[in-house]
């Protein structure tokens, strides 16, 4: 009898779960930052598994595209890698809503060298000169008389693009510097880590999660007057570390229904694990 009861309860529970899922339906349109497209898609896939009734469409185009879609009412969530401008808030308020910001992940890149390399810190300008090939010897930045070997990710990696835009081009749109053709394009962050660990000439960059005692993460300063800051989770979260930025999501007004469920999922431990999987920094350090 007891067993029958259990089975009945199980099916009741199942029916309840199905009904609960049934409540969430419709579509969620997500637009914005190209850097975050993969992240958004990873979230969307996992979320759709839990809520088959909701279809989530993620498209890129850039943070600016995301904001204009949000204001124009053609998306439910804008994913952006910069904060909203006052002008954009004003435009949204004219339409009758105030965008709500959610910090969903962080993007922090460590610059790594061999542990025996005497160089401890570099400025963004020095990094740009090194990775574009203007500086080719460690002596020029206070190290030994050794050639610099540049290690980069493949060109399609978001990390590669981010590093190019924010370090090589210093976040400005009037600089068109490229990585030196001499840069070795490594297939994975792991490959960069291995080569850095065994090559005293090497300098590379990757998500801070990959840093181990076999490499030395450099302290980075915004300019010669600023403090040199090492990449750690606290300084990435606070924004003190210069090669990091928050990844954001904006909704038109307080989210509800499927959109709210999606954001809850994104901020849940499971959602933040996905953040790590696609090489970004979770806003809450995952329990290890």
């Amino acid at each position: 009898m007891k067993r029958i009861m259990t089975v009945c309860l199980f099916f009741l529970g199942l029916a309840g779960a199905v009904a609960a899922q049934g409540e969430l339906s419709g579509t969620i349109q997500i637009k914005g930052s190209d850097t975050m497209v993969n992240l958004g898609q990873a979230w969307a896939e996992a979320y759709s598994k839990a809520h088959p009734g909701v279809s989530v469409a993620v498209t890129g185009g850039g943070s600016g595209t995301g904001f204009s879609a949000l204001i124009g009412g053609t998306c439910d969530i804008a994913e952006t890698s910069r904060t909203i401008k006052e002008k954009e808030v004003a435009l949204a308020q004219q339409k009758g809503f105030t965008p709500v910001e959610f910090k969903v992940a962080m993007d922090g890149l460590a610059v790594v060298v061999h542990p025996d390399n005497p160089v401890d810190g570099l400025t963004i300008d020095q990094l740009a000169d090194i990775f574009t090939g203007r500086i080719t010897n460690w002596r020029e930045v206070g190290g030994k008389d050794l050639p610099i070997v540049l290690l980069s990710r493949e060109i399609n990696s978001g990390t590669h693009i981010y590093f190019k835009e924010h370090v090589l081009r210093k976040g400005r749109s009037d600089i068109f510097d490229e990585f030196s053709p001499m840069a070795l394009l490594m297939p994975s962050s792991q490959a960069i880590a291995e080569e850095t660990a065994q090559n005293e000439n090497a300098i590379g960059y990757y998500g801070m999660g990959y840093v181990s005692p076999a490499q030395k993460a450099l302290a980075v300063a915004k300019d010669a007057e600023s403090d040199y800051v090492r990449p750690d989770v606290a300084d990435v979260v606070s924004g003190r570390y210069p090669i990091s930025r928050p990844l954001l999501m904006y909704t038109p007004g307080e989210p509800a229904g499927a959109v709210k469920a999606f954001l809850d999922f994104v901020l849940s431990p499971e959602g933040q694990r996905i953040v790590e999987k696609v090489d970004f920094v979770p806003i809450r350090p995952a329990a290890e």
Partner: protein, 288 residues
């Protein structure tokens, strides 16, 4: 009844033969279909002669000259290394080795052939790469030379076993005649046997080269993938295959970059096609 059975079997075999050819043709048609659109946007001369490979920059640059030269350099190095070693090994196995040693060697070579290339690449990365770096005092061990040596190992089993067959097929009376005329065993080998087996050895080498040009995983891991025009064997190179493998994963479908990777595929297909047809020609000459 028996005749019908034979007729059916014959037609089935014919069909499987034709299927293989149909597949090759279909693959080529598919490559052309995806790749030809690319040449409407980028002239062939810019593609083959361009020195810079920046496919996702603004404006993009699709020059594959460094990639072609990278592939050729690695292939050349691997060929020289593999052919010399393999011919010596084949001679030893076919002419000199006592039967028991011969069996052990043949098994060993078969095992070498069965090692997956990603494993060889990994082994090369942690053993060969640091060795090349310290032995030649170069800034990084991720060079064309490392790739060539590793690929040489991959081509060896093919070259050794086909050359050995060719040597074994040299009619006995050739060798006996030579020895009867007073030549030593060594003189017989390099004056008589090798000439009689030449077309077979040549075909073996061409098939080995075919494998080397098309190899992807190992070269991607140990050649450094820097798209510069290589001047020496001790510089990093980027091969055609590694470019396709590294960039195909995240390219936007239908974009010029996507088409350019298919265009690289066409070039690669043509290169291996020429090599294989040459090998085939010599194999036939060896048999006639």
């Amino acid at each position: 009844m028996r005749r019908l059975k034979e007729f059916l079997i014959e037609k089935l075999i014919l069909l499987s033969g034709i299927t293989v050819i149909v597949f090759v043709v279909l693959i080529f048609v598919f490559l052309l279909k995806e790749g030809v659109a690319f040449f409407k946007e980028v002239p062939l001369s810019d593609f083959l002669g361009g020195k810079y490979w920046y496919p996702i920059s603004e404006p993009p640059r699709f020059g594959i000259l460094p990639l072609i030269l990278g592939s050729l350099l690695v292939t050349l190095g691997a060929t020289v290394f593999a052919v010399i070693t393999s011919i010596c090994a084949a001679f030893y196995i076919a002419e000199v080795a006592p039967p028991r040693v011969r069996d052990v060697l043949k098994t060993g070579i078969e095992i070498l052939a069965s090692i997956p290339s990603v494993v060889l690449g990994f082994v090369g990365m942690v053993t060969l790469v640091p060795w090349v770096k310290s032995a030649f005092h170069v800034p990084t061990g991720l060079t064309a030379l490392s790739g060539a040596i590793m690929l040489g190992f991959m081509a060896m089993p093919t070259i050794i076993s086909i050359s050995e067959d060719a040597l074994a097929a040299v009619p006995r009376h050739f060798k006996e005649g030579s020895i009867a005329l007073g030549a030593t065993r060594w003189q017989t080998m390099y004056r008589v046997t090798i000439h009689a087996a030449k077309p077979g050895i040549f075909a073996a080498s061409m098939l080995g080269i075919g494998r080397v040009i098309g190899e992807t995983m190992a070269v991607m891991m140990i050649t450094g993938n820097a798209a510069v025009i290589p001047r020496t064997f001790l510089m990093p190179v980027r091969t055609l295959t590694a470019t396709i493998a590294a960039e195909m994963g995240e390219v936007v479908h239908g974009s010029t970059h996507y088409q350019s990777l298919f265009a690289i595929g066409i070039i690669l297909f043509l290169m291996t096609f020429v090599v294989n047809v040459t090998a085939d020609y010599f194999l036939h000459r060896a048999r006639d």
